[in-house]
């Protein structure tokens, strides 16, 4: 029991910089929803039931432009293909989880929790209790996303300039700290450099399609350059 709690705390701790980076976005989401005339219940409901930052922003933008329902849903689906890659990457590690655990934990699969879990797998390969670490990270992220979007809604137009504090730098440096130790062989570096360069080239593509494209290209270069890393395979 104590071990589980410790793992949950570790998961939350490792996600802390990412939570800090996401907080202003939650505030901005809530404020934008309020300004766009969404009710409090719908705003809080979207954060609680959908729980996907980019998708929620895109839905707001499309709602404001009076886009048709199928267009919004389709766009949200495409944006979420990134999470599908995350889920596929984790397949090997969740094989022995019960379907109930998978169904619950998959709901909370975000960039942030995936990054934290990846780092855990990289540094402590094969250690048991991954799901508790994941759960701690996920609940922490989820809780603060709810708080921030509700807070943003209540503040509405009086939102402080939180979005301009540059707190998203915490996400950048945390991701750097997670990715760099994972770069073990030439193929990893090739993959990273390609994804980096391509993301700069495709930053203005709609609906974050540039991220997905850059990732796929990076993966392709990684495959070309070499055999797969052993590390993810324990």
């Amino acid at each position: 029991m104590q071990q589980k709690r410790k793992l949950m705390l570790l998961g939350a701790l490792e996600t802390l910089p990412l939570v800090i980076a996401a907080f202003p976005f939650g505030i901005v989401f809530g404020a934008m929803a309020q300004t766009n005339g969404l009710s409090f219940a719908v705003t809080a409901g979207m954060s609680a039931i959908v729980f996907a930052g980019s998708s929620q922003f895109i839905a707001l933008t499309l709602l404001a432009s009076a886009a048709a329902l199928p267009v919004i849903v389709m766009t949200v689906f495409i944006v979420n293909l990134r999470q599908m890659l995350y889920s596929a990457n984790l397949m090997h590690h969740v094989e022995h989880w019960s379907q109930r655990w998978r169904a619950v934990l998959a709901f909370w699969l975000t960039d942030e929790t995936f990054a934290a879990v990846t780092d855990r797998l990289n540094r402590h390969p094969g250690e048991p209790g991954l799901r508790w670490f994941y759960l701690g990270s996920a609940l922490f992220m989820y809780g603060f996303w709810q708080i921030s979007s509700v807070l943003g809604y209540l503040l509405g137009e009086q939102v402080p300039g939180l979005a301009h504090w540059g707190l998203d730098v915490a996400m950048v440096v945390a991701f750097v700290g997670i990715v760099v130790p994972a770069l073990k062989v030439r193929a990893d570096w090739g993959c990273a450099v390609t994804a980096f360069g391509c993301a700069l080239f495709s930053y203005d593509w709609p609906y974050q399609s540039g991220l997905l494209f850059s990732a796929v290209l990076g993966i392709g270069v990684g495959l070309l350059l070499g055999r797969h890393r052993e590390a993810g395979y324990v």
Partner: protein, 106 residues
């Protein structure tokens, strides 16, 4: 009503991509090439995110020395290469960002 329908559909197209691969784990055998490709997902996606958050501000690429996000990321990168410690990397990046802001911030 419309908005709740939207939320329900959004939830569906958000949850399914998150769940389906995990749910199928152990039940399907992926081709070896795909397994190798998926191995690169964390590096590829997280690096692409780093690139865009660090280098793009207000919808524009920013290669200037006034881009503190990028300078902090560079400091973090050096710290990560040297130490491989996550918390050291984060601390170096954040301190660097804070100092730049305090020293040269608008």
């Amino acid at each position: 009503m419309y908005e709740w329908l939207l939320i329900a559909l959004m939830a569906l197209v958000t949850y399914l991509p998150r769940y389906l691969p995990m749910g199928l784990a152990g039940k399907v055998v992926l081709p070896p090439l795909l397994v190798r490709a998926l191995d690169f997902v964390p590096i590829a996606v997280l690096t692409a995110i780093i690139a865009q958050v660090a280098m793009v501000h207000d919808g524009q690429l920013d290669f200037s020395l006034g881009n503190f996000h990028a300078l902090a990321a560079l400091a973090a990168f050096i710290a990560a290469v040297l130490t491989r410690q996550l918390f050291v990397t984060i601390a170096v990046g954040l301190v660097c960002f804070g100092l730049l802001r305090a020293g040269f911030g608008a």
